[in-house]
Structures are given as C-alpha cells and as structure tokens.
C-alpha cells in the first residue's frame, strides 16, 4: 500500500472503514454492498476534493515522495530506445544526472534529467539527485551534441538543488551551472523542459532554460527550499509551510507568473498512483510542444527563447 500523507488522513480512515465493512460482511455472510458502494463513492469524492484543494506545502510532500516516479521510471514509457551516455570526459560520471539519446515518437532526441534515488542506497549513489559540477558538464556535453546533430533537447527537472559540499566548490559548481544557462540560451534546436518533481534553485535551473517549460500538476520549482527560506526569514525552519505559500512556487503559480507554459495533469492521488498514465500525459504534452515549434527556423528557436528570458521579471513603472 502506498504511504499516506498527513493531509490524506480522512481518506485512510474511510478506506479502513470500507475494509472493516467488507470483512464484517464476509464473516457474517451479510450483504452490505450498498453501504460499501456508498462509502466507496464518498472516498472518490473526498479524494477529488482533497486533491483539488492542495496547499503548496502538500505539493512539496507529494513532489518529494519516495515513491514519486523518477526519470528512469518514465524513460521506457516515453521513449522507443533510450541509450544512456555517461561521463563529462573531465573528471567522472555523476549519476545524479542521467543523459543520452532516444527516439521520441519517431524523432531522435537528446535527453538529460536529474535522477533521485528510490531508496537510501540508491540515494547515496545518486547524492539524492544533487549533481556535482561533473553532472552539469556531462549535461552540457550531451546538449552540445544535440546542437551538432540537430536533435531537440528534452530535459527533466527533479532535484533538491546542486550538490553543496566542498568538492563541488573546488571543481567550480557555479561555473558549471552558469555554462549550462549560457549554452541553453544559445542552442538553435528546440528545448523542452519538464519539471517532474522538485525543482530546487540553481541546480534545477541549469536544465531549465528552454523554449517551453512544462510542469507536472503537483511539482514545484523554487528559488530556495521552503525550509531554508523559513530559517533565513523567520530563523525557524519549522515555518517551512508558511514559506512554501509565500514563495509562490507551485505549477499553478508558475503558469500564472508566465514562467511555465503548461501543466500536465497527474492521476488522482499523485503521479506515483499511476506511472503509466502520468507518462502518457508527459508524452502528449512534449509532443504538442515540439509540434508548436516545428515551423521555427534554427535562428527563430534561439531568438524566441532569448526573448522569453528577457521578459521574465517584474519591473515597476
């Protein structure tokens, strides 16, 4: 059974009640199906109600859920033949970022994604999806190849942020991210970015400069983690919930702010409830985004992307 979030408690209670009734009717051989049916309908209603009124902090919990599908869950469902390519040719391979080439609906593409682990062991290997400079330099190497061979670039964002240890500093974390930003603003092939889970700060942005930015319904994308924001602002990391609301970082907020271009619906209860259905949503959204860009010349792809960046931000008059 999937792990429950605290805001799902009423659902859990109802589900337990249904299970009790079922058991009772079996043991006593009494037909309680009308009652059970009624409760199950109530369950669906309640779940819909809860999921259409999620607070930003709830979305943070969903986006960071251990069972949340990662890139490797989606890749076989999105691509015909994903071939992973490794290493930055300078230092080592960083498995907090995966990349390679693939066929997407008949079109060759270059794919780059953050990857969080699904358990503690994998998370240690992948540094919890927090890339080091070599991860960003691998991404850059693969994206340069996409430009060379004229393939669209598809990126997937899912990271708490860039690695924050001394090794990352020694090898130029800032420079590695900055190069990604600069190069992505210059490529002349289409770039579609999709936030599939957590978009944490500069480490997320390094894969986030595109012609189109898509976000899964319950993903978020923020300048700073809500916990860090709370500890800077109110010297109290437990106020993360308040910070989550103040930062306006949900997919719905970003659409309103003009940063995101589209929201991909998730199955009721979150992406982890139905990976296949979520992947179908991602696939059709990317296909549509690519179709919208297909008449753009290489120059236009670069210019419109740059103009999009230029318009981000709010200036008073």
């Amino acid at each position: 059974m999937a792990q429950y979030f605290d805001f799902e408690k009423p659902l859990l209670e109802l589900e337990e009640k249904i299970a009790e009734l079922k058991q009772f009717s079996q043991e006593k051989e009494i037909d309680l199906s009308p009652e059970i049916y009624k409760l199950m309908r109530r369950l669906v209603r309640l779940r819909k109600e809860i999921y259409s009124n999620l607070e930003p902090w709830h979305k943070v919990q969903i986006a960071r859920h251990m069972e949340r599908p990662n890139f490797h869950d989606y890749a076989p469902l999105l691509f015909e033949d994903f071939i992973e390519l490794k290493g930055d040719r300078l230092y080592r391979d960083d498995s907090a970022i995966a990349g390679g080439i693939a066929i997407f609906q008949g079109t060759p593409v270059t794919v780059v994604s953050h990857v969080k682990g699904k358990d503690t062991k994998e998370n240690i290997k992948r540094n919890f999806g927090m890339p080091h400079p070599e991860g960003y330099r691998k991404a850059l190497r693969l994206m340069d190849q996409a430009e060379k061979f004229r393939r669209p670039i598809l990126t997937f964002i899912d990271t708490p942020g860039a690695a924050c240890d001394l090794g990352a500093e020694e090898r130029g974390q800032g420079e590695a991210i900055a190069r990604c930003l600069q190069s992505m603003s210059q490529y002349t092939v289409p770039i579609i970015c999709t936030v599939i889970g957590e978009g944490g700060s500069g480490g997320a942005l390094a894969l986030g400069v595109g012609n189109t930015l898509l976000m899964l319904e319950h993903s978020f994308y923020s300048v700073i983690a809500p916990e860090s924001c709370a500890s800077i602002l109110w010297k109290d990391p437990s106020k993360a919930k308040e910070a989550a609301s103040a930062l306006k970082f949900t997919a719905q907020d970003l659409l309103e702010l003009g940063i995101a271009d589209g929201i991909i619906p998730e199955p009721l209860g979150g992406a982890h409830r139905n990976v296949k259905k979520t992947a179908e949503g991602i696939s059709s959204a990317i296909a549509q985004a690519l179709e919208e860009l297909q008449d753009h010349s290489p120059e236009a792809l670069q210019t419109t992307r740059y103009e999009k960046l230029r318009n981000f931000g709010t200036i008073g008059t």
Partner: protein, 304 residues
C-alpha cells in the same frame, strides 16, 4: 609616518564591537556573509584580520584596504566607481527602474525601504558606461549594502540591458560582483534572472566582445552560478569569499569544519576558477592592460 601617530592613539580610542574578536580567517568567513560595507560609528575601525585600529578617514582614502595587513573591507559601488573610471566619464543607466513586490512576499517592501536608506544606489547593481585609462567600457557594479547585492528582477534587467547596450556600442563589459545570490523575495522570477543575464552575456560572446568578471567579497549562490562565472577573464580581490554554497551550509552538509582559507579568492585560484588575484588599488591598471590587448581593431594583423 601619520599612521604611527594614529597607532599610538589606539589605546585611547573606543573600538566598537563591530567585528569578530578573533583574527582567524575562518571566523571572518563565518560572519562576513551577513555584514555590509558599513563602517561602525566613531573615528576608528578595528581590522577584523590583524586587529589593528585604523583611522576611518584613512581607511576610506586607502580604498578601504587595511594599511597593515591588506585586508580588503567591503566598498560601496559608488566609492569603487570613483577610483575606477576616468573623472567625468561615467554615465549611469536605468537608475529609475523600480522594484516592486510581484509575489506579495511578506516584509519585502520594508526591506527595500531599509536598503534604499542604507545605500546610495537605487538597486543591488549600478550600471553605466565610462572610461578606464581612456578605454571605453560598460560597467556593472554590485552594492552589498542593498539587500546583500541580491539579484531580483530589476538587478537582472539592468545587467541584461547594460550588456545589450555594450553590443550596440561594441564596448567590452566589466562586472564587479558582490552578492548573496538570487533574491528570495521575488521567488522564481529572481531565479530566471540568472538565465537572463547569462543569456545576454552569451550574445556578447557571440559578438566576440570581451567580458571581464571581477569577483569581490562575497560572491555566492545564483550570482556565482550566472554572470560572475562567465568572464573571458576572471579576476578576484584578495581574500574575497567566492563560492556557490555558503560556508555555513557546506559545514552542515559535511558535518565538519572547512579547511582554513576554503572558498577564498586564493583557494579559487588554486582550483583553477580564477585567472588572477589583484589588489583593489591595482585593479584599474590591470583592467587597462587587459582592455588594451582586447581593444577594437586590435585583432591579428594590426599594431598597437
């Protein structure tokens, strides 16, 4: 000579509690991310590195560099500008761009009002054009007194506009960074200023125009991960703390003390991130030498 006179007086002067009590570099690292270029009230300042008492007026005249140990205090953008450009050549741009509160973020307006009062700049970066030893340049200078030089929509826009004007004018660009990073209060809009400024500098690079990045204390986060790291030439002031993640967070992550001198300009140079570490007083002259080599029309085949 004069210094000696002041030195004797040191005993009688009240030194305010402005700075860390220890001379350890690490201790400076712990505190310096929070403080500003503001000097304490009174006539005297204690150097946080060597502990000597410095006469404030002398310190400011000496470009805010300690005469005993060369410790570089922070310097406001306008003060830096004054000793950087040829007199009367600077023209400021976009001073009237107004910062608003797009997310209705709590207490942002108050912080902005406080920043305007504390500093003599209109936002975290000052931009314009001027001449250095007769070489025309486009300049952007961060000011730590304005919300720790953090980059929101206006700072990002000012830098992007300055770089675009440099392309029109065919001028090189010099940016002095000092910043805590992207400004939290404008959320995702601040984050994308990193992409905006990097994109503008990308265009400058495509035009084969020079960009010199001068990193000063402190440069961190979203600014290190965007414009500050993209220079054709990377210069840093001695002792400046430069990094992506702040020392406090690294210490928490690694659960141990950082080696002494970690994240200083010298550390960054040792690790291949910086071309040269240059004393504040020598920066104009070093810039002039670099600009001479790169001046328009100085491509292969011409004679300077």
């Amino acid at each position: 000579m004069l210094n000696n006179i002041f030195r004797k007086k040191r005993k009688y002067a009240t030194v305010s509690s402005y700075q860390p009590k220890t001379t350890e570099a690490q201790e400076i690292a712990n505190t310096s991310l929070e403080s500003t270029s503001r000097l304490p009230d009174g006539l005297w300042v204690k150097c946080p590195k060597c502990g000597e008492a410095l006469f404030k007026k002398d310190l400011v005249e000496n470009l805010r560099v300690c005469t005993y140990c060369q410790y570089h205090f922070r310097i406001p953008a306008r003060e830096r500008l004054e000793h950087l450009v040829d007199p009367g050549t600077f023209e400021e741009w976009d001073r009237d761009l107004k910062t608003v509160n797009p997310l209705d973020f709590p207490e942002y307006e108050e912080k902005l009002a406080e920043a305007s009062e504390k500093s003599d700049v209109s936002e975290a970066v000052l931009t314009g054009k001027g001449e250095i030893s007769g070489f025309p340049v486009v300049l952007a200078i961060n000011d730590a007194d304005f919300m720790m030089g953090s980059m929101g929509s206006v700072a990002g826009e000012k830098i992007a506009r300055a770089v675009e004007r440099a392309i029109q004018l065919r001028y090189p660009v010099v940016i002095f960074s000092t910043s805590g990073g992207a400004r939290m209060q404008e959320g995702i809009l601040s984050l994308y200023q990193m992409a905006k400024t990097s994109g503008a500098l990308g265009k400058l690079a495509q035009e084969r125009l020079l960009y010199i990045s001068v990193l000063t204390d402190p440069t961190f986060g979203g600014v290190t991960a965007s414009y500050a790291s993209l220079g054709d030439i990377q210069i840093a002031e001695p002792g400046a703390l430069i990094g992506f993640t702040g020392p406090r967070v690294i210490r928490q992550t690694m659960r141990k003390e950082l080696p002494s001198g970690a994240q200083t300009a010298e550390f960054n140079q040792d690790h291949g991130q910086i071309d040269m570490v240059v004393q504040r007083a020598e920066i104009p002259q070093v810039l002039a030498r670099l600009l001479r080599v790169h001046q328009e029309g100085a491509k292969y085949g011409s004679v300077l």
